[in-house]
């Protein structure tokens, strides 16, 4: 279908975007890469009165090394995330997860910020930023504020970004030398995750010194698998240990049921995929 009529504002600065959102009120929406929004508009599942387009705001694009963190502009495309050398070195988990998003066309249009603010529980970039303890910088009428990833995701399709606010950048603390893996489970290549697991581990000697595990689509928001992490820390990175730790994966989750998977199957998948993700992450960490 053709979307219903809306006003269109192409902002050229973040301030302009914030002003446009404030002026438009509750029924405005932000257009980033459009890979989720445009289908929703065409299906008329959303009928915003105003679209504020961020594509002309050049300050929102790009990735930079900011000392102890890598900073990614919200409008940076998936393609750029995948191919960035800073991320490959210091936050490989995000790049690995981003590789699994959509297809090449989608990855050239879709943006990190758009995917995060859209907050589809099956989206693949939510769990990695939670696992990596990322911080989100949000601009609004009152200036800028920073929200941790754990507080950023509020509910299904709902984040801490207010109706007159814009996500500006994502700061990811460096995890240099960590092993990482994103284990995605879906039925066809171009589909959302039924369940996926983001895992990053740091190995010292033969033991796991630090571990981060977060789950995709196991609740309305991404779930940090603290039980798995605790069971791994200080342990030798071997199969039996990882398998035992992965048994904790479904703790604290509240998965839904749909045509692809009932909740109990999702819980089972969470355990199996966690085992695989942690094992793969440990291998890449140990192998350098």
């Amino acid at each position: 279908v053709i979307p219903s009529a809306f006003d269109y504002v192409a902002a050229s600065t973040v301030d302009e975007a914030v002003q446009a959102l404030s002026a438009a009120g509750e029924d405005a929406k932000i257009l980033a890469g459009g890979q989720s929004l445009v289908p929703v508009l065409r299906l008329r599942l959303a009928t915003p009165t105003t679209l504020v387009d961020l594509n002309k705001i050049s300050e929102l694009r790009g990735i930079r090394d900011d000392g102890d963190a890598i900073v990614i502009g919200a409008m940076t495309t998936h393609h750029d995330v995948i191919n960035d050398p800073h991320l490959a070195e210091h936050a490989a988990l995000l790049a690995l997860a981003t590789r699994t998003v959509g297809d090449p066309q989608i990855r050239h249009r879709g943006t990190l910020g758009g995917a995060l603010v859209h907050a589809d529980p099956a989206g693949d970039l939510l769990a990695p930023v939670v696992a990596l303890d990322a911080e989100m910088v949000i601009a609004g009428p009152g200036g800028r504020r920073t929200v941790g990833a754990a507080e950023f995701f509020v509910d299904l399709f709902t984040t801490a970004v207010g109706p007159d606010e814009v996500l500006v950048e994502v700061r990811i603390p460096k995890k240099t030398g960590w092993g990482a893996h994103y284990e995605k489970f879906n039925r066809v290549a171009q589909a959302w995750s039924i369940v996926a697991v983001a895992a990053a581990v740091r190995i010292e000697g033969s033991s796991i010194a630090e571990a981060r595990v977060a789950l995709t689509n196991m609740a309305a928001i991404p779930v940090r698998a603290y039980g798995v992490e605790e069971a791994l820390i200080g342990q030798v990175a071997e199969a039996a240990v990882i398998r035992a730790a992965a048994e904790h994966a479904a703790e604290g989750t509240s998965p839904s049921s749909d045509g692809n998977a009932d909740a109990d199957y999702r819980e089972h998948l969470a355990r199996v995929l966690t085992e695989r993700a942690v094992a793969a992450a440990a291998t890449t960490a140990a192998g350098g």
């Binding site: 279908v1 053709i2 219903s4 009529a5 929406k29 932000i30 257009l31 980033a32 890469g33 989720s36 929004l37 445009v38 929703v40 065409r42 299906l43 008329r44 599942l45 959303a46 009928t47 879709g110 758009g114 995917a115 603010v117 859209h118 907050a119 589809d120 529980p121 099956a122 989206g123 299904l156 399709f157 709902t158 984040t159 489970f185 039925r187 066809v188 290549a189 171009q190 589909a191 959302w192 039924i194 689509n217 309305a220 509240s254 998965p255 839904s256 049921s257 749909d258 045509g259 692809n260 998977a261 009932d262 909740a263 109990d264 199957y265 819980e267 089972h268 998948l269 199996v272 995929l273």
Partner: protein, 824 residues
């Protein structure tokens, strides 16, 4: 008879790239939706969200007031209440057929049925106005299950019919005399300690044809002929049926199928929207266009399959099959469309497949439900038959502890038994199952994979390996007209062609088939180039416009080459006959003294000759031609086949099943198909690849799912999983060539073979991987969850899903995104 592929020097058999692809791939062509006429108005359809409901009120006032809206119409407004969309296949004399109006009258019978239409100056205004039409419904109980639909006291989809049963159709070899009574043979087997009887139930899920180009129709009422462009497979049938349905004089209707982006049977239809577009265009006196959205296409265009299959096989314990009984329950959906009730009949003659069953009984019960109507989808009845019998042969092998391939070989028709008349009364003209199977086994490394399977089983590997077999045949090239008549089909199965030789020696060939992606323009040009001896580039193939191609039966059922291509050959031969008369006249010799080779007539034993191009110009000038002969080379031919064509082949699939997650990965896929002589190997390869993809899709991915209220929940391509290349394995394809004896080219059809053959190969492989764990069946599609649960259930460790609370919405589908959603 059987030969492997040989390189060719002529056009016939050359792997040419298709000449139509440049325009199709770049989109620089005419699709129906690209057509824009002066003053054209746009139609959008208001569709029912409910499966079964009484319409208590339709308020169009608000929509009428919107800018750009020219009209909002119900069936009553259009005088369409008495119109019924055509069903051309009344399979039995007492078949129950409801009236099928183009818009619902009083009651809606499936979710997605049109209730009203909006006509506006542009598509956006029409879309806005659809939302402003208010329809009040009184919900009725949906009828979703074919078995309960037949129970006493069941809600009736069409109360006037007094039943939900559309028809009951039977074939029995004992009654026909083509074999024994299956019931008697089964009873005898049950009493015989040296025999075995195996009964199984299979479920053919509902599928959505998912062609690439959504349907579109444009009608221009401003000329002397009412002209309709439609994204259809069947312009000729559409023309005749539109005339009959609306009482229009047939000569006042012209139908054009321009380039059409796929159909798979889904555009073998006369649609409500085509009829509505005709009605509105005539009423408003202006051109109108309707183009559907993908969601409309999924919801309202006809679906396929949707059968429950009960099979009984009797066999001696040595493996020899003695009887086959098939009982089908087939879901018609809410209405009968063009060939809806006949789809199971296209499978009725194929359940016995390549095996020598001495007794056969087939019965189908067609049932109405409040779902989208079903009709033809790639293979139409034959994939269902092939799936059931090939699954059944594996079940029999399991029961007997036999290798499934050996068991097949024991029962199949051997190459020296052709022509072979089957228990279902068809005569298979040619085939060689031994050669195709041997070749497939070798390419597949059958023995090596069986050894690996044993290793994995012994090691209790979490990833198990299974091997699936499908040794199929199918009947295609629809169809001998007399056979269609005997099956109560309303039309024939002949095909027409004409060949025009222009003054400059170029050739225009008109074909009655209507390609929509098959590559007819290339293949027909190759056939003509060789036969008439003119360059490939000098040939234009014309089709799809009833003003140009006046006669035809269109494209479906893998008929285009085996019927339409032969009509072209017959027309070319008439051209050559006429040219020969002219050549003899011009060379002043007797026709008997001439030989024709590569476009040139030569007097035998001399160097005196004349080319077809020279003759063409001489005929054009018409200064010098024999008395009593028309100065023309142009010729036409109508070909009515004497038999179907019977492609066959052996498909082998190796599937890895991850028992921890239930995920199936096709490790290797080998198919050796025998489609007779091949005009263009690249086109055949493309047909096989696409066919495999669609057959594998049924096995693993696709299903039209309805909820308890009758709402289609797989209504977008985010929910209805059409696999892409990334989800499919590398295909190892090869061929044997056993020429068909029923046509002069020795060709058989290839359009449906891959789809027909592949589904059981994949499911057999999945089951073979986990059967040793105790799994006996997995419904299609074999989704990871289904496979995992089957393994868990077999291990006695399954957990009840009811223990788990269900959240309102899961992520991962467009349907889950609500209006409060964040921005992307």
């Amino acid at each position: 008879m059987t030969a492997t592929t040989q390189p060719t020097t002529g056009e016939f058999g050359r792997a040419r790239k298709r000449k139509e692809d440049a325009r199709l791939i770049t989109g620089r062509t005419r699709w129906t939706d690209n057509i824009s006429l002066p003053g054209m108005l746009h139609i959008a359809v208001v569709r029912s969200p409910l499966a079964h409901a009484r319409i208590t009120g339709i308020s169009t006032d608000a929509a009428q007031q919107l800018p750009g809206v020219h009209g909002v119409f119900t069936a009553a407004d259009l005088g369409a209440e008495g119109i019924s969309l055509p069903c051309a296949w009344p399979i039995t004399a007492d078949m129950k057929a409801p009236q099928a109006p183009p818009l619902a009258v009083d009651t809606v019978h499936f979710a997605g049925e049109g209730v009203a239409i909006v006509v506006a100056r542009d598509a956006a205004s029409a879309a806005d106005a659809v939302e402003a039409v208010e329809v009040d419904y009184e919900a009725l109980e949906p009828v979703l299950d074919t078995e309960t639909a037949l129970a006493e006291g069941a809600t009736l989809v069409h109360p006037a019919l007094g039943t939900n049963r559309n028809a009951f159709w039977v074939f029995d070899s004992g009654e026909v005399g083509s074999g024994r009574s299956a019931d008697e043979a089964i009873a005898a087997a049950e009493a015989d300690p040296d025999s075995i009887v195996v009964r199984r139930r299979f479920r053919q899920q509902r599928l959505i044809p998912a062609f690439m180009e959504p349907r579109s129709v444009v009608v221009d009422p401003t000329g002397e002929q009412l002209t309709m462009w439609s994204s259809t497979q069947v312009p000729h049938i559409l023309k005749t049926m539109a005339a009959l349905t609306l009482g229009l004089p047939e000569h006042k209707v012209r139908v054009i199928a321009p380039d059409v982006g796929g159909g798979f049977g889904g555009k073998l239809q006369v649609t409500p929207e085509e009829i509505l577009a005709l009605l509105v265009a005539r009423r408003m006196g202006k051109p109108v266009k309707w183009t559907e959205t993908r969601s409309e296409c999924m919801l309202a265009a006809h679906h396929g399959r949707a059968q429950i299959q009960d099979l009984t096989v009797a066999a001696r314990k040595d493996g020899t099959v003695t009887a086959l009984k098939v009982e089908l329950m087939t879901d018609m959906g809410a209405y009968l469309r063009l060939v809806t009730p006949g789809i199971p009949l296209l499978g009725a003659f194929m359940y016995n497949a390549i095996y020598k069953f001495p007794a056969y009984h087939f019965a189908c019960t067609n049932v109405f439900t409040t779902k989208t109507p079903t009709d033809a989808y790639r293979g139409a009845g034959r994939p269902e038959a092939t799936f059931a019998i090939e699954r059944m042969m594996d079940e029999l092998a399991t029961e007997l502890g036999r290798d499934p391939l050996e068991l097949r070989e024991q029962n199949w028709i051997t190459h020296d038994e052709f022509p072979f008349t089957t228990v279902a009364t068809l005569t298979y003209d040619s085939g060689n199952y031994e050669v195709a199977t041997a070749k497939a086994k070798e390419l597949f490394d059958y023995d090596g994979l069986r050894a690996e399977q044993q290793r994995r089983r012994k090691a209790n590997d979490p990833v198990q390996l299974g091997i699936g077999i499908s040794t199929y045949t199918e009947m295609c090239g629809l169809a001998p007209s007399r056979v269609l008549g005997a099956l109560s089909y309303a039309a024939g199965g002949w095909e027409h062609a004409s060949v025009r030789v222009l003054a400059t020696g170029k050739v225009e060939a008109v074909t009655g088939v209507s390609g929509h992606g098959q590559g007819h323009e290339t293949a027909w040009s190759q056939i003509i180039a060789d036969r008439l001896g003119v360059p490939f580039e000098d040939i234009e193939i014309l089709h799809g416009d009833t003003q140009v191609s006046a006669k035809g039966m269109d494209t479906y059922g893998s008929r285009s080459l085996a019927i339409g291509g032969i009509a072209v050959v017959k027309a070319v031969d008439k051209v050559i006959d006429k040219a020969k008369r002219m050549a003899a006249h011009l060379l002043e010799c007797s026709e008997a003294d001439l030989e024709f080779h590569q476009g040139t007539f030569t007097i035998k034993g001399s160097n005196r000759s004349i080319t077809i191009q020279e003759i063409a110009f001489a005929v054009f000038a018409a200064h010098n031609y024999p008395d009593g002969v028309e100065p023309s080379l142009d010729s036409e031919a109508t070909f009515d086949p004497e038999n179907f064509s019977f492609p066959h082949g052996t498909h082998l699939c190796a599937a890895e099943v991850d028992t921890e997650t239930g995920r199936v990965r096709i490790r290797s896929y080998v198919c050796v198909d025998d489609v007779g002589k091949v005009v263009n190997p690249l086109i055949v390869e493309g047909q096989v690849h696409g066919g495999l993809a669609q057959g594998i899709a049924q096995a693993l991915f696709e299903e039209a799912v309805y909820d308890d209220g009758g709402t289609l929940t797989s209504g977008t391509l985010a929910d209805y999983l059409v696999p892409s290349a990334a989800d499919l394995p590398h295909f190892t394809t090869d061929r044997t060539e056993t020429p068909a004896t029923s046509n002069p080219l020795g060709v058989k059809g290839v359009g449906e073979a891959g789809t027909i053959a592949s589904t059981p190969a994949v499911v057999n492989a999945v089951l073979d991987a986990v059967r040793h764990l105790g799994v006996t069946d997995i419904e299609m599609p074999c989704s990871p969850q289904r496979v995992w649960r089957a393994v868990q259930s077999a291990r006695g460790a399954v957990k009840s899903t009811s223990e788990h609370t269900t959240e309102a919405a899961a992520g991962g589908g467009l349907g889950s995104i609500d209006a409060q959603g964040g921005a992307g």
